[in-house]
């Protein structure tokens, strides 16, 4: 692979004409990849959000209605399946497609409010630590560093088991335990921006603290924080499903992707579709947010875009 790099000039100038078809194909592919992936992420994400919001209109059945006579039906395209139940039914005869559509509500609620809490706490404490420094900074960062050094998921599982399963508990656990990440990013950015020439000149002409924070520091924080928030929302959806898989998240009969996976696991060998579809839903959601996050990072951070070239 190294031999194709024999011409050093190629390393520094992307605009150089290139003879090999592989490279031509490649650079077109690279351009396409960027826009195409961001667009795909956005489309997928909007679709998932809309189906969660309009779940009652989309779901063909009541997600909680049991029908033992129609239990363990395979998906529509498999032998013995019908379009009455596109993804088949679970052991209690509940329609899997409807349950997945409704399950998106729990996942997105946890992801959205979890990130909202973590972001607000992170912004408040990170600004305080970064702007005031000194002892306040030491205390805030000391506590944050303990959280950041821990095997995160293990503590989330333990704390969820102690507090008991409910939607509110799950949101609070994620919101609080994820705040240290936002604190660290906010603080780092504040320290960087404070040293910049324009903030120093604003201070020297007597701008108030409030003015500096609101009109110089906050606008610069939006880019990095939105990007991190996207990735963290995806991570929370992941972790919520993980808790659900261990039966530590929102309890049944509310359908969540995690508890659907857990019940599908019992019948994996004979009725594999029961576990397959909720997992696919988690993966597609996470994929959409990761694509969106990568794209946002490139769009919102031009420095990075230049470095990537």
């Amino acid at each position: 692979m190294a031999s194709s790099q024999a011409d050093p000039a190629r390393l520094y100038d992307d605009s150089l004409p290139e003879q090999s078809w592989r490279h031509k194909f490649g650079s077109a592919g690279r351009l396409l990849w960027r826009d195409w992936s961001g667009l795909l992420g956005l489309t997928l994400f909007i679709t998932i959000v809309l189906s969660a919001v309009f779940a009652p209109l989309i779901a063909p059945h009541d997600p909680a209605r049991q029908n033992l006579r129609a239990s363990k039906l395979p998906p529509a395209w498999a032998e013995g399946g019908s379009w009455e139940h596109p993804f088949g039914t679970d052991t209690l005869g509940r329609d899997l497609f409807s349950r997945i559509v409704y399950g998106a509500r729990v996942s997105l609620t946890v992801g959205f409010f979890g990130v909202l809490i973590a972001l607000s706490l992170g912004l408040l404490l990170g600004l305080t630590a970064g702007y005031y420094g000194g002892r306040v900074d030491n205390v805030i960062m000391g506590v944050s560093n303990v959280f950041l050094a821990l095997p995160y998921l293990l503590f989330v599982v333990v704390i969820a088991s102690i507090l008991g399963r409910s939607l509110l508990n799950v949101i609070l656990i994620f919101g609080i335990t994820d705040a240290p990440l936002f604190i660290r990013i906010t603080r780092g950015e504040v320290l960087r921006i404070r040293k910049s020439g324009y903030v120093e000149s604003a201070i020297s002409i007597g701008a108030s603290r409030r003015r500096i924070i609101f009109s110089h520091i906050l606008p610069n924080l939006i880019g990095p924080l939105i990007t991190v928030a996207t990735f963290e929302m995806s991570a929370m959806i992941f972790y919520e499903a993980g808790l659900g898989f261990l039966n530590l998240s929102v309890p049944p009969p509310t359908p969540t992707w995690g508890n659907m996976l857990a019940s599908g696991r019992q019948h994996l060998e004979t009725h594999s579709w029961i576990a397959t579809f909720p997992g696919l839903a988690i993966m597609l959601t996470s994929l959409s947010m990761n694509l969106l996050g990568d794209w946002l990072r490139d769009v919102l951070d031009p420095r990075l875009r230049r470095a990537k070239k």
């Binding site: 692979m1 190294a2 490649g26 690279r30 000391g142 303990v146 102690i162 993966m283 990761n290």
Partner: protein, 317 residues
């Protein structure tokens, strides 16, 4: 100021000392968290007893466990025990919690090490080839692997691997740790996320270093391409990889909760899922502290390794 022949050992010593003190503080922080964790609901005795236990039983348990003493006394006793590795007895196994943790540790370390090996074996070559040929088919593969690794939930992947390779094809056992090949499926499922992270990191490190001035210099003085890659690019790309291995090991230990449960792997991850369900919180406290201590120690070691490889770190202090 006194003249020193070399500022080297001095800077290194100071760096090591500060990292050591920092790690100690982290461990104390973890102990405080582990102590208060079981008191979040206000009554640890009720938390640890079965739901159907009578108030008299709970009161007896509270007295037996010393949970009726003042909080500062309990805290002092807890910290004093923790320093010598005494977290009390497991309620379920009726044996010292730390002893049980140590018995289960090798299985978990084996699984995590196998998962990390899998991740490195796939990620490093793929990241290097992808990063060296941006826009190529290999690069596309590397990007895809990075993305898929981050988006597939490990517990779902474990179920899929189990279904295809153990149930349908019969290549691997479905559970347990009886044969050498038992570790393969759990290790792949557990290491998949780390693989994705490492591919992304390796790829972007190689891509970035390729554009550095010293690479241009190396080319202009006429060094052959493969020597530039071996001596300058790969060596510098290894630095960020080393630095996140400690963090990744923490992910692996956390992720083992699901993977060990699915594959009935007799390690700490499965034990924590079981102890949480059985309300065996002294054991949970021991596992939580011990796992955190392993992660803190690994982070310390990687930081030291990092400072040895890269002099810029210790001078940056």
């Amino acid at each position: 100021m006194k003249y020193r022949l070399s500022p080297f050992p001095h800077a290194m010593q100071r760096y090591l000392l500060s990292r050591l003190v920092q790690s100690l503080f982290l461990l104390i922080g973890v102990l405080i968290l582990v102590f208060f964790m079981v008191r979040l609901t206000g009554d640890p005795a009720r938390l640890m007893m079965p739901r159907e236990a009578s108030p008299a039983d709970i009161a007896a348990f509270r007295a037996a466990m010393g949970l009726d003493r003042p909080l500062p006394v309990q805290f002092w006793e807890f910290m004093r025990g923790a320093v010598v590795g005494d977290f009390g007895n497991s309620l379920h196994y009726r044996a010292p919690a730390m002893q049980i943790v140590l018995e289960r540790l090798p299985a978990t370390l084996e699984l995590a090490a196998a998962a990390l090996t899998f991740a490195l074996l796939v990620a490093v070559p793929l990241g290097i080839i992808g990063g060296s040929n941006p826009g190529s088919l290999w690069d596309f593969l590397a990007r895809t692997a990075g993305l898929i690794g981050q988006t597939v939930p490990n517990f779902w992947l474990a179920l899929l691997l189990l279904l295809f390779f153990a149930v349908n094809l019969g290549w691997f056992p479905t559970f347990g740790r009886d044969e050498a090949k038992s570790v393969v499926l759990p290790a792949v499922a557990l290491g998949f996320f780390t693989m994705g992270q490492l591919v992304r990191l390796t790829r972007s490190a190689v891509l970035e270093i390729r554009g550095e001035d010293y690479i241009r210099t190396a080319y202009s003085k006429g060094l052959p391409t493969n020597i530039i890659y071996a001596r300058h690019i790969f060596r510098n790309a290894a630095i960020p990889l080393v630095s996140i291995i400690g963090v990744q090991f923490g992910y692996l230990l956390s992720g083992s909760i699901y993977i060990e449960t699915i594959f009935a792997w007799p390690g700490l991850g499965r034990m924590i899922a079981e102890s949480v369900a059985a309300r065996d919180y002294p054991l949970v406290q021991a596992i939580a502290f011990f796992t955190s201590a392993v992660v803190v120690l690994l982070n310390l070691l990687t930081d030291i390794a990092y400072a040895i490889i890269d002099p810029r770190i210790r001078y940056g202090q």
